[in-house]
Symmetry: C2
DNA sequence: CGGAGTTTTGATCGAGCTCAACGTGGGTGG
DNA sequence: CCACCCACGTTGAGCTCGATCAAAACTCCG
């Protein structure tokens, strides 16, 4: 590992997975159909628990959500982050295997899974959207699994590129989640996350206006 | 980490994920419907490539299959192993993101994805089976991702328990895959896999009649 | 200003990687 | 049938990345 320019990271990532840099359709699915019950959730409050039955499907209207799995040893794994327009709760089986919590005060829409599927049975376009959502979710799972096989620096870069793709505004990434959340998502310690931010900054690959804001420097594909 | 009895591992694993020990329905899906074209594949020959479109779905009739992703740096990640009765090729999107190779000489059945889905549209039970397959696949992905956050020893134990669940015959696990395959599945080096086999043997948690055969010792839930 | 939570920085340690050598078993040809 | 070979597996030694423990700096609010 020598002389990692951020650009190099990006190129390598795209070469490897060909996914992160693809601009995906971010149009909201439920909102477009004006369905689902609007709800407010306060920061760090639970939306559903780890072993609840997955009877509902959710869409983030505003704010940010994380899915969480707690281990007996006190460890925590974050499965995914969801932002405005994202659908979550469509997990594998009959029950959730993660719990979901709001990261910041958020607004979400809730709809019964059965109702949604019933509607999808009558609306080809909605069905297509749902298939797209679960397909995208599976691809995300794949990417996340692959990421866990990389070095700490590569993981953080993957994360930043993913966030750049999903929530950057004019080249600035405003992170709603804490360092701890990032650490638990990447499967590294909080100290390592912090240190890696520092080294990336030192290398001028990124800039940190403050600890919750990031700017990618070298030819980020998102800076448009 | 001290005094790991194998039993303890098992209990902990089950507690954590509640999945490995559940006896899942292993009935073949395609064979039951007598569909799909039978084919033979020689050991280490490719079944489909990494970026081919996912037009076909496959079932292992006999033998063993691995899905593989190669990295630019020469690294390799194995996504999954499939054995007799397992369906594979039902990956996320339109193209595969892994390639598939036979581990040993194998027989498989191949069916066009469109045909299968068309049939499923007319056969509720087949549709249910397919949903079950993709649900199970997603759960497997989750488990694999979580496993990547554990120590080398825990990973190997997870792997052995999974294999015990899936291919043990009377308490004996005959592994069709090499140490390298196991290493690339677990995300550790081949040396670490070998060393961990040795320490588990030293601790009498397992016995190794030969390098490709394993017996779990302490109250494996599968030894019936 | 003070206090609690969050982030950063420092110092140390160990699990697992790497490089290298050595064993082993199964097949092939003399 | 043995000698050889080659792929696979095991073992050893040293080193590195990242975890852990500890403490300092920063931030947000009351």
């Amino acid at each position: 590992m020598d002389g990692h320019m951020f650009q190099a990271e990006i190129v390598e990532r795209i070469e490897r997975h060909g996914v992160l840099a693809r601009s995906e359709c971010r149009a909201s699915a439920l909102t477009r159909w004006m369905i689902g019950v609007p709800m407010k959730v306060r920061a760090s409050h639970e939306i559903y628990g780890e072993w609840e039955t997955a009877d509902y499907v959710y869409e983030v209207t505003s704010g940010a959500v994380r899915t969480v799995k707690l281990f007996a040893d006190g460890g925590r794994q974050i499965g995914a982050f969801y932002f405005a327009g994202d659908i979550f709760g469509l997990e594998d089986g009959l029950d959730h295997s993660f719990s979901a919590e709001a990261i910041v005060d958020s607004k979400i829409r809730v709809i019964k899974r059965r109702t949604l599927f019933h509607m999808a049975g009558k609306d080809r376009e909605l069905a297509r959207q749902l298939l797209l959502v679960s397909t995208r979710e599976m691809a995300r799972l794949h990417r996340h699994a692959l990421m866990l096989g990389q070095t700490a620096e590569e993981r953080l870069c993957s994360f930043l590129l993913e966030m750049a793709e999903r929530i950057s505004v004019g080249g600035l990434i405003e992170l709603p989640m804490s360092r701890q959340d990032i650490a638990d998502y990447l499967g590294v310690s909080i100290e390592t996350v912090s240190r890696t931010f520092t080294t990336l900054t030192a290398r001028s690959a990124i800039a940190l206006p403050n600890s919750r804001a990031v700017v990618l420097r070298n030819g980020s594909p998102l800076t448009e």
